[in-house]
């Protein structure tokens, strides 16, 4: 090993990140080369010095602020759940006061996973109820929306620009679905919002689109490329079907 090579791997040697064979070569070189040995000694004293830098503990005020904030998040979660219960109770009451046939009539297709359908509608409606909760990144540009998710999820949701087909991208936010982190992409067509939830699929298997409706909401779910897609909106089912086709169309 010559000096050039030794200096390149000297830090990894110091950090104990070299494989045994290379480390042995470094040791051998150092024994014969005072300049490189001096460099390593300097590195070691630098390490000793750096490790003496005071490590300021997190201030008590910060710890308190974090604890308060966590409690607020938990409370908000509980309140949101009870609010959504109240919402459904009110809806059920309204449904009951109408007619049974009317309520039954709204269940056009039997949802494949009733629990998921409920959640989809609940998350969609909750985001519409508060304007500040609809999107965390507001942009019609998919080159802004897509990178926004980087580092926030362990998958990259495909973001399509469907503006010329009438589906305007509004933005995206982080959400959760079935206990899993989800990317929520919001599109708009003729004043109707469509939320497209993207989560990790349980398997890489393709799943053909399944349409259903729930209390006037159209739902569409499918899986592709290891991702599970679920679109929900109050548009006509055929509009949502077209939306799904466009999202699944091969990228241009």
């Amino acid at each position: 090993m010559n000096c050039d090579h030794a200096l390149k791997v000297l830090d990894a040697h110091l950090d104990d990140e070299l494989d045994t064979a290379t480390s042995a070569q470094v040791v051998q070189h150092l024994a014969a080369c005072p300049a490189c040995a001096a460099r390593l000694a300097e590195r070691r004293s630098l390490r000793v010095a750096l490790r003496q830098l005071p490590r300021e503990p997190a201030p008590a005020a910060l710890r308190r602020a974090v604890q308060h904030a966590l409690t607020r998040v938990e409370d908000a979660g509980r309140a949101r759940r009870s609010r959504s219960v109240a919402w459904w109770q009110a809806l059920l009451l309204a449904g009951a006061t109408a007619s049974l046939a009317f309520v039954v009539g709204l269940w056009v297709g039997a949802p494949r996973d009733p629990d998921l359908s409920e959640q989809l509608v609940a998350r969609h409606v909750a985001s519409l109820a508060r304007s500040d909760a609809l999107v965390a990144v507001l942009s019609e540009d998919r080159h802004v929306v897509k990178p926004w998710f980087a580092g926030k999820l362990d998958f990259a949701p495909p973001v399509r620009d469907l503006g010329s087909q009438g589906f305007t991208l509004i933005g995206g936010r982080l959400d959760h679905l079935g206990g899993q982190p989800a990317a929520a992409l919001v599109y708009r067509i003729r004043r109707h919002e469509i939320t497209l939830f993207v989560t990790r699929a349980a398997s890489a298997a393709q799943e053909a689109p399944v349409e259903s409706t729930l209390r006037g909401f159209s739902l569409l779910t499918w899986s592709a490329g290891g991702l599970r897609f679920a679109a929900v909106s109050d548009v006509e089912p055929r509009d949502l079907r077209r939306f799904g086709e466009l999202v699944r169309a091969p990228a241009d």
């Binding site: 830090d11 990140e17 300097e42 201030p59 904030a69 938990e74 759940r81 959760h176 982190p181």
Partner: protein, 181 residues
Amino acid sequence: MDEPSRRERFETTILVHLDAAYNLARWVLRDDAAAQDAVQDASLRAFRFFDGMLGPSPKAWFMAIVRRACLDGLGRARRRGVEESYDEDAHGEALQDAACTAESPESLAIRASDLRRLHACMEMLPREFREVLILREIEELSYREISAVVGVPIGTVMSRLARGRERLARRLRAPDARKLP
């Protein structure tokens, strides 16, 4: 919906690293108040996404979120027109900082006792070197963990550490010291 135990798990796996988080944030942002804001923000983000936590090292996972929150904080400050504090890269290597320049021209060795000077020299390093040095030397993370925190390949971690240490050593050596090869 098992919230108390979720919170407890969060405290024992993530919040135990709050000191480390605060230390990293202070070194990245070089401002105590901004560091507190960033760590609080990061703790909340971590709490929200705790269930989707990835990788074998909760500490590295949390530190990555803290670093991201710091960079978001820097971005916000820049947009508001707040000058980011001094950065060596932006001002050129030639500029001398009184606190960092060696006061004893004959000393070649690094004076471990002079922590104030070391601190000043560290603060003058560009952020990409500063953060890997803190993660490696103070938090003692492995190259693999640092690579996950900073989001660069392990080879880049290695070269940033080498270059960062070299810059630091060069500054700590006396100004007239002969250049090592």
